[in-house]
């Protein structure tokens, strides 16, 4: 087969527009989401951008200018995106993708605005996910924007978890807020006394209610819970001083103090009384898990948006960099291309763009997945109830069997047609619990992976984007607010669980047998994609998946030089780094899958159609660039983990015993000519040895790894050519005359 060489083909004509993004991120058939995007964009590139450009970020306080944004969120429908139609919203069904799109559009200009717009949802999320129906109906209705003719202000909420003071973003399990029973009259609702101090609490400058995590400090109240606090509750509702944060200044953040009496009916999800003890239906950890696994995706999207938003300003800067200088005459190459004459500038921008695409693909894939999880999760609960399966261990055991069926389904689906039991495959495919197990397993990995990789690695790449604009990048005048975005990305890496939390989460979910089976299936799929669409990097990625899987299998059975197990919880040098490596793979895979979707559906779009061949070539090259970067990262991490826990031989008597003595080798050379050339470590006269740490390490048992690693290196073939093509396209792409928001 001829090598893939699209050099003579079409190239990128314009920056991808809405029509392309709608296909890539799978909302081309959802006009409700398309409208949400346009509404949010109008707010982002209108009032939000104007506020940032006028220096609105230069204050920790909640200013009237910032407060105006709340009205814009309400009037444009952003606030209502979270709600169901009967609660005042306008989008039916799950809303994870919708909220991700809102986050994307706002963060394109300012992620603090995105946080401010979505923090109210975070406050409502505990009630939405685990609250009683009465609680949900009550607070959703209060938080919904006023309908035409209604004269009321919508309630704003804040979510208060972070403590103990003075630190920010500490472990979610460490609660110091307390709940005690203040009154409990016979036959009446108990009254709780809540003592809670928060730190870095978003929306606290104006919140009317707070969902706060507290632990019991009373033997009549069991465990922890989340309670709803209202502004008018008796006691102290002190909003505290504004947090002196250096980022996301368009969101309100302060350090509140609460000392309030609230009825026990404010416990999220309700409670029951057992033997004179109030037992909340959900402890705070269970609620937080349900909330964060969805809302973290939106944070991942924010950083992805920034990376993609940097492309146009950087191109414009690069092209115009020398204009106005005496030596740069109109029409000259330097006038037209500016810095884009230089390969390095183009290559680095290619890397930024490729990372942005991969980050967006991964984060939106996670968001869409939760749109699938939500109804299936409800269905799972119904089916378990029908089967008489209660919670706890019974549910765990039941779902373990479901997972086994899901693994069977994946194993069968990998077999060629004719070699598999089609009836059984169909039966498993139609099993709702199997479907739930599959999406739940994938979501359990994709969510922390997106949060970790998009924000953490994204922050690093955002720095690169800023550097491409030179000193201009760290001024407030920089178009696209790139300097602000770089700083903001660091907060996104921390929000709703810092990187260590995501790594810990991943180290558990990625090690589940069902997920590992999914990975094997994906590796096979990538090979098939590579066969159909060479040049996307899918083949490189498939090999990188195999290397990762080999390394995982090895690390779960291997021991280090001291005989200690390697893949165990406390050994985060192993588990966390393997989690890091996996994120690269997942992001690159998501990017390639999006490209396939565009290739499949793009021809249907008249808008994308004309420039589609060039666009597909360009985005394919970006996929290849990103796959190569992922492969490099995975190869490095896996090699370090596979070899790095073996002790290097020293020049001691034990290690020397496997070396050749120089005189023996000389004698052997006389018998077998060329023998001496095969020896690596030779001990000379008087014990002299080569200048190195010790004899070369034996790689016994690691030959498969070495072969895979070598194969992976070979799989990088063509990646730099792809980067060259993408860079060339960047120097020719037509961009708008001006940025569509002020700076």
């Amino acid at each position: 087969m001829a090598a893939h060489d699209p050099a003579a083909g079409e190239s990128l004509r314009t920056l991808p527009g809405d029509d392309v993004r709608q296909i890539l991120w799978r909302f081309a058939d959802r006009f409700d989401l398309q409208m949400v995007v346009q509404s949010t964009r109008a707010v982002a590139r209108g009032p939000v951008a104007r506020l940032v450009a006028s220096g609105g970020r230069n204050s920790h306080d909640w200013t009237p200018g910032k407060n105006e944004l709340l009205r814009a969120y309400d009037e444009s429908g952003i606030t209502a995106v979270f709600m169901d139609p009967e609660q005042g919203g306008f989008i039916e069904g799950p809303k994870n993708l919708a909220l991700a799109l809102v986050a994307f559009e706002l963060a394109w200009v300012d992620a603090g605005a995105a946080t401010g717009a979505l923090a109210g949802n975070l406050a409502l999320s505990p009630i939405h996910e685990r609250g009683t129906k009465a609680q949900a109906d009550h607070y959703m209705a209060l938080a919904a924007p006023a309908k035409p003719g209604e004269d009321r202000k919508p309630w704003r909420g804040a979510f208060c978890l972070t403590e103990p003071l003075p630190y920010v973003g500490v472990d979610t399990g460490m609660l110091s807020g307390k709940a005690t029973i203040a009154e409990w009259e016979e036959g009446k609702e108990p009254v709780l006394q809540i003592e809670k101090r928060g730190r870095f609490i978003t929306n606290m400058g104006f919140a009317n209610f707070v969902t706060a995590a507290v632990d019991s400090a009373d033997p009549r109240l069991k465990g922890s819970c989340i309670v709803i606090l209202e502004e008018g509750d008796p006691g102290t509702f002190d909003r505290g001083t504004p947090t002196r944060k250096m980022v996301h200044q368009l969101s309100s953040t302060s350090d509140p103090i609460f000392s309030l009496r609230v009825p026990a009916s404010r416990i999220v999800g309700g409670y029951e009384v057992k033997d004179g003890v109030i037992v909340p239906r959900w402890d705070h950890g269970e609620i937080i898990e349900a909330v964060f696994k969805r809302t973290r995706v939106g944070v991942a999207v924010m950083t992805a948006a920034k990376l993609l938003s940097a492309v146009e300003p950087v191109i414009r800067y690069q092209r115009g960099r020398f204009r106005g200088a005496e030596q740069t005459k109109p029409g000259s190459l330097r006038h037209e291309l500016g810095l884009q004459q230089r390969e390095d500038a183009l290559h680095r921008l290619t890397d930024v763009w490729a990372t942005g695409e991969a980050a967006a693909s991964l984060a939106f894939a996670a968001a869409r997945l939760y749109d699938e999880v939500d109804p299936l999760e409800r269905r799972k609960s119904e089916l378990l109830a029908q089967a008489g399966v209660g919670g706890g261990r019974a549910e765990f055991a039941y779902l373990k069997k479901v997972n086994e069926r899901a693994i069977e389904y994946l194993s069968l689906s990998r077999l060629p047609q004719g070699e598999r039991d089609e009836a059984r495959l169909l039966e498993l495919a139609n099993d709702e619990l199997v479907r739930f197990a599959l999406v739940d397993s994938e979501a359990g990995v994709l969510c922390p992976a997106a949060k970790l990789w998009c924000t953490g690695h994204g922050a690093t790449v955002m720095r690169e984007a800023v550097s491409l604009v030179g000193g201009y990048g760290i001024t407030e005048d920089c178009p696209g607010f790139l300097g602000h975005k770089w700083m903001d990305a660091q907060l996104e890496a921390t929000y709703e669980g810092p990187e260590a939390v995501q790594r810990r989460n991943l180290s558990v979910t990625m090690a589940q047998p069902l997920f590992l089976e999914q990975l094997r299936t994906w590796a096979g799929e990538l090979r098939r994609i590579a066969a159909a669409r060479p040049g996307t990097g899918a083949c490189t990625l498939a090999t990188a998946f195999r290397l990762w899987l080999w390394t995982f299998d090895h690390l779960t059975t291997a021991k280090d030089a001291n005989g200690e197990k390697l893949y165990v919880g406390p050994r985060q040098g192993v588990t966390f780094r393997l989690a890091d490596a996996l994120c690269w793979l997942l992001a690159s895979r998501a990017q390639i899958l999006d490209l396939l979707e565009l290739a499949r559906r793009g021809p249907e779009s008249p808008l994308a159609g004309e420039g589609l061949p060039g666009l597909l070539e360009f985005l394919g090259d970006l996929c290849h660039v990103q796959a190569a970067a992922a492969a490099g990262e995975v190869g490095r991490i896996c090699a370090e983990l596979t070899y790095g826990y073996n002790r290097h031989p020293a020049w001691d008597s034990e290690a020397r015993s496997v070396c050749y003595a120089a005189e023996d080798l000389e004698a052997l050379e006389g018998i077998i000519s060329g023998m001496a050339g095969c020896a690596t470590d030779v001990i000379g006269e008087g014990g002299a040895h080569p200048d190195k740490a010790g004899p070369c390490a034996s790689c016994q048992g690691l030959h498969d790894f070495a072969a895979l690693r070598m194969k992976l290196d070979g799989c990088l073939t063509g990646a730099q050519l792809a980067k060259d093509r993408a860079a060339q396209a960047l120097s020719k792409v037509m961009i708008p005359e001006a940025l569509d928001y002020p700076a």
Binding site: R13, T14, G17, D18, D19, F31, D32, Q34, M35, V36, V37, Q38, S39, A42, A72, E75, S76, G77, A80, F90, S605, P606, L607, A608, G609, E610, G611, M734, I735, P736, E737, A738, D740
Partner: protein, 268 residues
């Protein structure tokens, strides 16, 4: 008074922030990468639409149609924004929107679309549109549509319209010298080519959008192709207005001298 029947002629134009570079296509001039450039509702037509919606809201029983000519796919993208702003019923005509069409042909296509609106009482019709267009600005299309619909009363450069209790219309038109002319006509039918009007662009309201979309999506699906446009006109050449910037730093120049230079520059 019966409700008003307002038909707004408003098409899409390429987003003015984009790089708009005329180039030669197989069938005449086109914009470079025209199909891929984002589009917006023609700003002049937008003013007419906001005014129409405002007027319709003030007169019970009124209805607004938006007759839009443009590539169907672009219309769909633009409607995701415009459809959220005010209530209207879309009548879509599938055709080019790059600005390289003859206003007579465009007017014919629009007039046919207006005539085909079911239930439209043309004796009560107020035909709205922009008196200009951001596409190429011939400034004649709306008047030609009015002529084809046999509506004699034509007002251009309209900034305000009031419907009196007796149904007559008081119209404020821009005239030379930065002044307005007040006219009164007996009532519909009439053609009003709007200048900027007085209504700001409404905010996007997804609730309005969800209602509009029930009609917009079917309208887009059954959009009829316009007869081949552009056959009746030949373009010898097309080019963008030249941008020229000459900066001199001069201090302490008397105002009279600055004025003299400006006049000389304008006259040159």
């Amino acid at each position: 008074m019966n409700g008003l029947q307002i038909v707004v002629c408003g098409s899409v134009v390429p987003d003015p922030l984009q790089t708009l570079e005329p180039t030669a296509g197989p069938a005449g001039p086109v914009l470079k990468n025209e199909a891929m450039l984002p589009a917006v509702l023609d700003p002049w037509a937008g003013h007419a639409l906001w005014e129409a919606a405002h007027l319709a809201a003030a007169v019970p029983g009124s209805k607004v149609w938006l007759v839009a000519l443009g590539p169907k796919a672009k219309l769909q993208q633009v409607m995701m924004v415009v459809g959220q702003k005010v209530p209207f019923e879309l009548v879509a005509v599938d055709g080019p929107a790059g600005g390289f069409t003859d206003s007579h042909e465009t007017a014919a296509a629009l007039a046919e679309a207006v005539k085909a609106i079911p239930g439209l009482d043309r004796s009560r019709l107020l035909l709205f549109g922009g008196w200009e267009s951001a596409a190429r600005g011939a400034g004649t299309t709306l008047a030609l549509v009015g002529a084809r619909l046999e509506i004699p009363d034509l007002f251009l450069g309209v900034d305000a319209l009031a419907v009196r209790e007796d149904g007559s219309l008081e119209v404020l038109e821009r005239i030379e010298g930065g002044r307005h002319q007040v006219s009164v006509c007996a009532g519909a039918p009439a053609v009003l080519g709007w200048a900027t009007g007085n209504r700001p662009e409404p905010r996007n309201n997804p609730q309005v959008g969800m209602l509009n979309m029930r009609g917009i999506l079917p309208a887009l699906q059954k959009a009829r192709p316009a007869p081949a446009l552009g056959g009746g006109v030949t373009f010898e050449a097309v080019s963008l207005p030249k941008q020229q910037r000459e900066t001199r730093v001069v201090k302490d120049l008397p105002a009279a001298e600055i004025a003299r230079e400006l006049v000389a520059w304008i006259e040159s």
